[in-house]
């Protein structure tokens, strides 16, 4: 069942668009995108995830959607739904590759063209929020997303960092990117923020400490919160399971819920 395409385009019935960005790779953008999406679905929202990491698409595995075929309807490409109730719609290049080990070895213009199609030609239908998961950097993919979303409002971006300076150093550049492209920064998430040993409960700052909060202060951004390094979170993502349903008592669940609530409040404001 696909949505009707109104004259205004495939995003006409999407209420909010939020980018998930980081200058740095491997900080947890896809993880945070997935957990935000699941939390929003549990809160009764209809959510979409647009995965524009063309070289390293992580979203399909994290949501255990396998390799379904992408169909076309009159309104465009039908997104893949992660759930039978169709509350979580996804589009990723991961669905378009016959061989999941095949490398997408494309230069910028070709990436730009596909992202244009992902934004304009997917029949997203009615969504409360469309989350856009991005690769690290400030290059073709990021510019392509913003150019194609120009006709539609971008509510803002959530920036993800880990605590150490090597990470926040890149995220500062991403903040500059947002300022230059007039993307509102909804806030900064510090991921991998401390590890509590499951054997003795000692907390180790594996990737240093506090850098995310300092970065927020330095740049005048909202600090959305810290998410700890949690092997249970990593394992459920590996298996494509819903961490929030599996471990609702965990401190990671609490952290993610607080972040989601803050983001929702700033969107409704």
């Amino acid at each position: 069942m696909c949505a009707c395409l109104s004259e205004k385009g495939s995003l006409a019935q999407v209420k909010h668009v939020v980018l998930v960005l980081s200058g740095k790779g491997g900080v947890g953008k896809s993880t945070i995108t997935t957990e935000l999406a699941l939390a929003l679905v549990h809160a009764g929202k209809k959510v979409g995830i647009l995965d524009v990491d063309l070289c390293g698409p992580s979203i399909p595995r994290m949501l255990s959607v396998g390799k379904p075929e992408v169909h076309q309807c009159d309104a465009g490409w039908v997104p893949v739904y992660a759930d039978p109730q169709q509350k979580l719609a996804i589009m990723s290049i991961g669905f378009l590759l016959e061989d999941s080990d095949e490398a997408v070895i494309w230069r910028g213009p070709k990436k730009t063209a596909l992202i244009g199609q992902f934004v304009s030609d997917v029949a997203w239908g009615e969504l409360d929020i469309l989350l856009v998961d991005t690769p690290p950097g400030t290059s073709d993919e990021h510019l392509a997303v913003l150019e194609n979303l120009r006709k539609h409002r971008v509510d803002g971006a959530v920036l993800v960092t880990t605590p150490q300076a090597v990470s926040t150093g890149d995220v500062r550049r991403e903040i500059t990117f947002c300022k230059k492209t007039a993307v509102k920064i909804l806030g900064i998430v510090e991921n991998m923020s401390g590890f509590v040993c499951p054997h003795c409960s000692e907390c180790s700052n594996v990737f240093s400490k506090g850098g995310g909060e300092e970065l927020a202060k330095l740049t005048g951004s909202v600090f959305l919160g810290s998410v700890p390094l949690d092997p249970l979170l990593t394992a459920t993502l590996e298996e494509g399971r819903d961490f929030l349903q599996a471990f609702p008592e965990s401190s990671t669940y609490t952290a993610i819920s607080q972040i989601v609530n803050t983001v929702l409040s700033s969107l409704d404001a």
């Binding site: 730009t112 550049r173 991403e174 180790s204």
Partner: protein
């Protein structure tokens, strides 16, 4: 012709693209006819210029990963430090992560600037025998963002290879961003005359990382770069208090070991998580000298040691280690 000529429109696909002269962005460009005729796609003369420039560079090694944040820059920096501990060797470290250059910070060179001389750009020396080049040295502020499309990034990489006065170098280590895109294609293209000895692939144990790394390995096969081997980073964490090991990034599909077995590649080693690594990187110091007894430093030294042999024997050493480990584990 430059990949993106100065008079090209904003969305120029690049003169070497299949769309050169044909895309909608090309309408009205003064170079449109040249591009459409294919004349602009003649082999880039820079390839030969770079081949000549790099005749003084004995070995070129790429550090790659499909995945971000696995420790490419950390390994590149520490491999360079370790190789440079031999005073008789000249080592060069080139950072082609244009959007997220980490090497200046990790090498303790933040704030350094590049100087021009008659023989080209001078790299920044962290030791007498260890030279570094990164776009980080060309930015005036830590907040400066490099918001460039592919063609402009390619032009920068060309300049790094052609215009930097590297001098006589035993090892040129090239640190790359994650992915299989412009930066990777450009490095391979511009070094096609000079040659690449091989690539070290970095991963972490979990499948979310391995699935991207397999793509990188395919990329290497497609562009014919020999894969020296794979390093599994962040491989377990030993709690400093109770000494129990936790798999923070669990190898749910067998980790790098199984991937290497399936793809017939050497597993060069596993490096455990150690908070002191991140701290050293943030402070711009080599953790090999800061905490030489840490299990992570020992793992790094074991991985790096065979690089001190000539690269001719490197493949043989790793191949024998691979066979030995395989025999031991069975």
């Amino acid at each position: 012709m430059a990949d993106v000529p100065n008079d090209a429109p904003e969305h120029c696909p690049g003169t070497s693209s299949d769309q050169a002269g044909k895309s909608s962005a090309c309408q009205g460009c003064p170079n449109q006819n040249i591009c459409a005729s294919g004349a602009a796609k003649a082999p880039d003369p820079a390839i030969e210029e770079i081949r000549q420039k790099l005749t003084s560079v004995k070995h070129k090694i790429l550090v790659l990963s499909g995945k971000g944040g696995v420790g490419k820059s950390t390994f590149s920096a520490h491999l360079s430090h370790a190789l440079a501990s031999d005073d008789s060797k000249e080592i060069a470290l080139l950072d082609v992560d244009i959007c997220g250059p980490s090497i200046p910070k990790i090498m303790g060179l933040e704030g350094e600037q590049v100087h021009q001389s008659g023989s080209g750009w001078s790299p920044v020396y962290v030791e007498d025998n260890l030279a570094v080049m990164s776009i980080g040295f060309l930015l005036s502020s830590p907040d400066d963002a490099v918001i460039w499309r592919g063609p402009k990034k390619n032009g920068m990489i060309k300049q790094f290879l052609r215009d930097v006065d590297w001098g006589e170098v035993d090892y040129l280590i090239v640190d790359t961003p994650p992915g299989t895109s412009d930066e990777h294609l450009s490095i391979v293209q511009y070094l096609s005359g000079a040659g690449i000895d091989g690539a070290v692939i970095i991963t972490t144990p979990q499948e979310v990382s391995l699935q991207d790394v397999r793509k990188e390995i395919r990329f290497c096969k497609k562009v014919k770069i020999p894969v020296i081997g794979v390093i599994e980073n962040m491989s377990g964490f030993v709690c400093p208090k109770c000494k129990n090991t936790s798999q923070i990034f669990p190898p749910t599909t067998g980790g790098a070991q199984r991937m290497c077995e399936e793809l017939n590649l050497p597993l060069l080693g596993r490096v455990p998580l150690d908070p002191r690594i991140g701290r050293s990187c943030d402070e711009g110091r080599s953790f090999l000298t800061e905490v030489p007894d840490s299990p992570a430093a020992v793992a790094y030294q074991n991985i790096i040691f065979p690089f001190f042999c000539s690269l001719k024997t490197l493949h043989l050493v790793y191949f024998s280690l691979f066979i030995y480990t395989d025999v031991i584990s069975h």
